[in-house]
């Protein structure tokens, strides 16, 4: 992987605009090269100062989920709220710098791979509860932001409609597209329809994918939340339910928060950060998240089979659907009183 000169020149030119003088770009390294996003690590050197940075580049704007300006606005809003996120030095929609829209942010050191995060927690048992509390606090801070202050391009639920009905319609549409019917998913949808929770006092700006895997963690705890491209406005408990899905526990099933902490710790942190916890909505969104993840896996298998994304990874997703069916059924019968799932 050669440190390509145009990339180096483009990054130097971009930083020169925001810093007043163009730094030297050194130690360029492609950290990940997905079809949708490329992460490039590099150092910007100004005299004696060496700043470790990351460029997040969208090589093909047609495949971007969210405009980089909207994503960066979310990051900056979170930072203003006091949530730990990488500081963004600048964002460029113009493709002429590095071949696609991009932004440059601070490089935060630490673990992001879930198993490595859990290894840190094993090595230092007090870290798990601390991390869960910090996750709660971070989300509490984010959710305290006024959604009116968020970027106008951020996804918002349709006005004048129940956010729960809107979410359920999305899930039902995916159920209709299944290659083979799943009575388990249907049962989950039915349960969700009949158990819509209490309404939030107000909607909030959500991260949308806050979970073990999108967190940078060090021995001192939570350092930053990454991957803001599915942020949106919604019920704040959606972020908490998503975080606590079984899928993000990586076999530590007893530790509901990412395999490292408990709900009690998460909630304490959330309320200390300014959030308002609703137990019924927490359970509802966790259940819907599980259903959505299962439908997403089935959709991946379909994308392989219809030839749109041929890949053994996508094919294998089809055989993971049963895992989510099981997790969903456990949530339906879980701690709820007997007879709950009926009538």
């Amino acid at each position: 992987m050669s440190a390509s000169d145009p990339l180096q020149a483009g990054l130097g030119r971009a930083l020169g605009e925001v810093w007043g003088e163009a730094p030297a770009i050194e130690n360029l390294q492609i950290a990940s090269a997905g079809a949708r996003r490329r992460n490039v690590l590099f150092d910007a050197v100004r005299g004696a100062e060496r700043v470790p940075l990351v460029a997040t580049i969208i090589p093909n704007p047609a495949m971007q989920v969210m405009d980089v300006e909207v994503e960066v606005a979310g990051l900056r809003l979170a930072q203003e709220q006091g949530m730990p996120v990488p500081h963004v030095h600048g964002v460029w929609a113009d493709r002429s710098y590095v071949g696609g829209p991009f932004f440059i942010s601070e490089r935060v050191e630490g673990e992001t791979i879930p198993r490595q995060v859990l290894r840190l927690v094993e090595a230092e048992p007090s870290l798990g509860p601390k991390l869960a509390t910090q996750c709660g606090h971070a989300l509490g801070r984010l959710h305290a932001a006024d959604p009116a202050k968020a970027h106008p391009g951020l996804n918002r639920p349709p006005a004048g409609r129940s956010i729960f009905d809107h979410a359920l319609e999305g899930a039902e549409a995916l159920i209709r597209e299944l290659l083979q019917p799943s009575p388990s998913f249907r049962l989950g949808l039915r349960w969700l329809e009949r158990h819509t929770p209490s309404r939030p006092d107000r909607l909030a700006v959500l991260h949308g994918d806050f979970r073990n895997g999108n967190l940078i963690v060090g021995p001192d705890g939570l350092r930053a939340a990454l991957d803001w491209e599915v942020g949106h406005v919604g019920d704040p408990m959606e972020d908490l339910g998503w975080l606590c899905m079984r899928m993000w526990r990586f076999r530590n099933d007893d530790l509901e928060v990412g395999g490292f902490g408990s709900r009690r710790e998460l909630r304490a942190g959330y309320e200390a950060g300014g959030g308002s916890w609703r137990a019924d909505a927490f359970h509802w969104w966790k259940t819907l998240s599980t259903l959505r993840w299962g439908l997403g896996l089935a959709g991946q298998a379909k994308a392989h089979l219809d030839g749109s994304v041929p890949s053994i990874i996508m094919a294998a997703s089809g055989r993971r659907v049963a895992e989510l069916e099981y997790d969903l059924l456990m949530l339906l019968q879980g701690p709820a009183p007997a007879g709950e799932t009926g009538s």
């Binding site: 009575p183 158990h195 929770p197 709900r263 990874i313 049963a322 895992e323 059924l329 949530l331 799932t341």
Partner: protein, 133 residues
């Protein structure tokens, strides 16, 4: 009838190759697909051994639930899905839940043994359920 090795035995052999020598000789972005291919062979090996009895059990359970004398799993699953969507029978959902748990556990014995060791969420004070309708 084919000669030995059986399908299950061959799939196990292919999985051993993929997860052993082939993975060791593979570098970079191909490692993940090779690992996935090995795991898919393990799934198919279990399917070759357990699939027929699992499908028979699924068919039996669905026939009982739907009170049908016949029908294949594909058709029975579609019928159950439709009946749940229609919601005409208030007793169907509570009766379907344990049946689906058993069917899905049968699928997991092939697709991911051990996944069903989990039995739901901790029942601490904050867990909702009651009074949420």
């Amino acid at each position: 009838m084919q000669d030995r090795p059986t399908a299950a035995e061959l799939l196990e052999t292919i999985a051993d190759l993929l997860e052993g020598d082939l993975l060791a000789a593979t570098q970079g972005p191909l490692r993940h697909p090779v690992r996935v291919a090995g795991n898919l062979c393990r799934i198919l090996e279990r399917e070759a051994r357990l699939g027929p009895s699992q499908e028979h059990r699924e068919q039996q359970l669905l026939r009982e639930l739907l009170q049908r004398a016949d029908g294949e799993p594909t058709e029975l699953n579609a019928a159950l899905d439709q009946a749940l969507a229609a919601g005409d029978d208030a007793t169907l959902e509570p009766r379907a839940l344990p049946v689906l748990v058993e069917i899905v556990r049968g699928k997991l014995a092939i697709a991911k043994p051990g996944h069903d060791a989990y039995r739901g969420e901790p029942a601490d004070d904050d867990v909702p359920g009651a009074g949420t309708r």
